[in-house]
Amino acid sequence: MSSLSVDLHKLSKFVNLALPVLVIGFLLAGKYVHFYFHFLTVAFLFLTIANVFYLFVQDQHPLLRNFGIVAQGRYLVESIGPELRQYLYSSDTEERPFNRIERSEIYRKAKNIDSASSFGSQKNFDTSEIKLRHSMYPSSHDDLIPYSLTFGEERGLKTAYTITKPMMISAMSYGALGQHAVRALARGAKLAGIAMNTGEGGYPKYHLMEGCDLIFQIGTAKFGVRNDEGYLDDEKLRELAGKDEIKMIEIKFSQGAKPGKGGLLPKEKITREISELRGVEMGKDVVSPPHHKECTDKTTTVAFIKHVQEVSGLPVGIKFCVGSPQQVDDLVQEMVDQDVFPDYISVDGSEGGTGAAPKSFMDRVGMPLFPALSSVNRILCKKGVRNRLKLLAAGKLINPGRQILAFAMGADAVYSARGFMLSLGCIQAMQCGNNTCPIGITTQDPALQRGLDIGTRSVRVKNYVNNTMHDLEELLAASGERSLDDLSIDNLFIPEDSTLAPLVHDKYIDSKH
């Protein structure tokens, strides 16, 4: 070791010895020099006591037991590590789930400022990046066909629901989000003219306040429409479906953040109001069951979809994260056999992230969006039933660049949740499950929600939608197609090394209809 260095082992030994010696020194100084020294006596006495506690009493932390109070410095500095990394040390491209470049694109769109970038992309142009193929002869804007998608038209429903923008706010419940965030999103959705999914949070009291179009989600616990045994209460569903704002019903089978597992609402976030809207107890984590009680196999699942369609009278979609394409294939076959189709299928990629989930589920379960979406689209095309329903996609589709890939892989419209959270001002503090969101989005704490102004935030939501739609149109025009519907996998450049490469040669998926 060089002559000038810090040996933390020796430093800690020195401090452990110095503390009691200092106490005695200050005690004597207080006695013989001036009584004011006793302020130091007391302070160092307390530090000594804490140190003794670390070294000899507690047995939870080996580091503190070996080195005492100096080791506390490690925990102190480590505790602000996430902030320091985000503020200073992480590069623009290395953060997860969204790096700084991706986040700032959303912020710029939400603030309605130019999001052009200069001097080249910071993406890796390696062998796995999928790109959109532009045409030598781009479409002119006048040639583009205005977007329109009608859910329920296949069944000839009178309540069929038409959207005119291909982007919707994905399922986030009141409970997961605070009321300010829910209302800002709902008002923004109304301003932008898009639909919003209520999430599985029970009666959508705050979602309903702003008068935007809603998709009511039925989770596995059926919050808001459950009876005491946890089965569907037809009467409650009928009543909710009768509301003007509620345009569609979505049955959630699984979710990208935690496929194969029910939702989890940490007890810290359960206020009295939430317990009433959902019909659950306070003071306990609420764990939704992993599957709907009615649905134990493909037969009962399809029957349940039919039942919800009949009771609600609205377009009914289903949402799942794909585990095995074979199971999806079997389910679709069952739909064919029973001649019952949901009005849409929403494929959630395993990269989905809103919602508290065990880390192993967040990280390791379910198929990522693009291969999952392509598989589902291919299955539907193969069975010749692609025209019986609509296909939605979700999973990090926060920017137009990624969304257009989903459209080319078969999606008719896309959902985003975190994109909209970012548009509200989310700084990716990663505390959604702790009720401590510093921006006030995923918290029930009024003090933290205070800063989230519904009025200004809703305008940002609108800006985000409009600017994203604008970029999406530009991309579409560049591709030389006239509508999102015309896009296919042939519009994509998929490198040979990509897991999606085999799809390019699979001619089952050359057309959506």
Binding site: L27, G30, K31, H34, F35, Y36, H38, F39, T41, V42, A43, L45, F46, A50, F53, Y54, Q58, Q60, H61, Q72, Y75
Partner: protein, 129 residues
């Protein structure tokens, strides 16, 4: 436990608060004590302010542990003072006993609210990881 905590906090805060009157009005007894330890008059006011803060912190649920630590600190100083400079003569013994009572109450409060102690909180907290 909650009731016990409140009783201890109120006892400690009440004793702390009642001495403030003597300190802030410059009662001769109080002046005599602080003269004995050479802190008159600034130290008398300073200690009074610290005691006031301690009493207030003890009563607010969010700051109990901080109040208890501060109050223990000031009382430790007082106890040391009795042994080194002030002594126990005449009415001084009762003041010493009061200081001891506040110290013990604060210590008990600190034990009850040990999860709030900033520096060793993590030893008692329910671990998240």
């Amino acid at each position: 436990m909650k009731i016990l905590s409140w009783i201890l906090r109120i006892v400690a805060a009440a004793i702390l608060a009642q001495t403030l009157f003597f300190k802030f009005t410059g009662h001769p007894d109080s002046v005599a004590i602080f003269t004995a330890i050479g802190m008159e008059p600034g130290g008398r006011i300073l200690i009074g302010v610290l005691e006031l803060i301690a009493a207030v912190l003890l009563l607010f649920p969010g700051t109990v542990a901080f109040g208890a630590i501060l109050s223990m600190g000031v009382m430790t100083g007082a106890i040391v003072g009795h042994f080194t400079d002030i002594g126990f003569a005449d009415g001084l013994l009762s003041l010493f006993v009061l200081a001891l009572v506040v110290w013990i109450c604060s210590a008990a409060v600190l034990v009850i609210h040990r999860r709030q102690i900033p520096i060793i909180r993590q030893m008692f907290a329910k671990s998240k990881y």
